[in-house]
């Protein structure tokens, strides 16, 4: 009834055409395709949620909510606007950031973790592509100035607004905005992003 989904690649290294094809099938209510999509993207989605919110239980909630949202709204995914993985990670990041900011507002838990730490890899069955991607991103992050790198990682991995980054680093907000943009330009060029 449903043709088997070829299994190759992993969360980071799946050919994008495969993920887009899966998304089209998910939009039509294809549950096996959804399960395959989950299997291929869950370490990236969960990894990002964990990295931003830190708390394992919160991260699980976010991961669950993101996939539920993907299932419900798969029809909104438009391949012309970006990759399927990009869409999933955007949903994950926005939700994780909401949780972090909400928690900060209610409990004022100003996290004591290493801001400049970059991406986490915290996986037992880590696969080759993920490790390569991780190494490349880490290498490219090192090409940024300290302030660019801190601004980018505190915002993206820490879930902070630029205003929060500004007050945490005691650097004026206009400078932080500029460093985030400059940092992304340098990162984009180092990673060879062609889009």
């Amino acid at each position: 009834m449903v043709e088997p989904v070829p299994l190759h690649g992993d969360a980071a290294g799946v050919p994008e055409t495969t993920l887009s094809t899966l998304m089209v099938r998910v939009a039509k209510g294809d549950e096996p395709a959804f399960a395959a999509l989950y299997d291929r993207t869950c370490t990236a989605v969960h990894g990002l949620a964990r990295r931003v919110v830190r708390d394992p239980a919160r991260a699980e909630e976010i991961t669950q909510e993101v996939y539920l949202q993907v299932w419900r709204t798969a029809g909104r995914y438009d391949p012309d606007r970006g990759s399927a993985k990009g869409w999933l990670l955007t949903l994950t990041h926005r939700r994780a950031v909401d949780v972090v900011r909400h928690d900060q507002a209610s409990t004022n838990r100003e996290a004591k973790y290493d801001w400049a730490g970059g991406p986490d890899i915290d996986v037992v069955d880590e696969q080759v592509m993920t490790r390569l991607e991780h190494e490349q991103v880490r290498r490219c992050l090192q090409t940024l100035t300290d302030l660019q790198r801190e601004s980018v990682t505190m915002a993206y991995y820490g879930g902070h607004t630029y205003a929060q980054v500004s007050s945490l680093l005691r650097v004026n907000a206009a400078t932080i905005k500029t460093r985030m943009r400059d940092g992304l330009i340098r990162l984009r060029d180092c990673l060879g992003v062609t889009a």
């Binding site: 869950c42 990894g47 991961t63 990759s83 990009g86 996986v123 984009r188 992003v193």
Partner: protein, 231 residues
């Protein structure tokens, strides 16, 4: 103003604007080809940052997700629409609706139908959606995802205990003027998860769930099973 706006594209790509600035920047984005162009590359870059983290979720999460999906209807939507476009279309209406509600006080609460999942999705996907959650030791969890800009909230209840005979659950919105009923739920209404769309959240401080005699009550008569404080 506009020159300053151009520097925001990096901040925007990193999701590092607060909600209000985000809405403002999306308006700029729609009329600024250079920012839109730059955003494409930044999005792809940020995606690499996101994809560089990896943590295998616990196996039970996969089971939970697949089980939820099997019971969750999909939104029926043929034409994909860009979020910011939808946002712009709705903005004037929402502002108008919000001012009417403020003028009328907290008088416009009502509960939506369970099947309107696309409205629920819109609330959940709103850029200002914030989640408040309350968990009991028994495993019962009630989550309220509220969007001020949409003046709505989605209540998601997991592992709600079974009802005793001749009782119903009743959901309440609690504000400065006391509790307003958000509707009665019978044993048949309880699913895993049970979701409810609440429209009109202006002034609501918390959402509570009580057990009431069959048919419900005009005011809560028991101590809430769960009370979720909104922020």
């Amino acid at each position: 103003m506009s020159a300053e706006m151009h520097t925001m594209v990096g901040v925007y790509a990193l999701d590092a604007l607060d909600h209000r600035e985000q809405v403002g920047f999306e308006a700029h984005l729609s009329s600024c080809p250079s920012c839109s162009d730059e955003l494409i590359g930044f999005r792809a870059t940020v995606e690499r940052l996101g994809g560089a983290t990896a943590t295998t979720p616990p196996p039970h999460l996969r089971d939970a997700v697949l089980q939820l999906v099997a019971h969750t209807p999909q939104e029926r939507r043929v034409i994909p629409m860009h979020r910011s476009e939808r946002w712009r279309q709705r903005m004037p209406l929402l502002v108008a609706a919000a001012s009417v509600l403020i003028a009328a006080g907290v008088g416009a609460l009502y509960i939506g139908e369970l099947s309107r999942s696309s409205q629920e999705d819109d609330v959940i996907a709103a850029t200002d959606a914030s989640t408040s959650v309350e968990r009991l030791d028994s495993g019962t969890q009630v989550k309220v995802i509220a969007s001020e800009s949409m003046d709505s909230a989605v209540v998601v209840m997991n592992r709600v205990p079974a009802l005793e005979a001749n009782t119903n659950y009743q959901m309440w919105a609690i504000g400065p003027e006391g509790a307003k009923s958000l509707g009665v739920m019978t044993a048949d209404d309880i699913a895993e998860p049970t979701t409810r769309l609440v429209k009109g959240i202006d002034g609501v401080q918390s959402v509570a769930l009580t057990v009431e005699p069959e048919g419900g009550s005009t005011q809560p008569t028991t101590k809430p099973l769960v009370k979720v404080q909104l922020t």
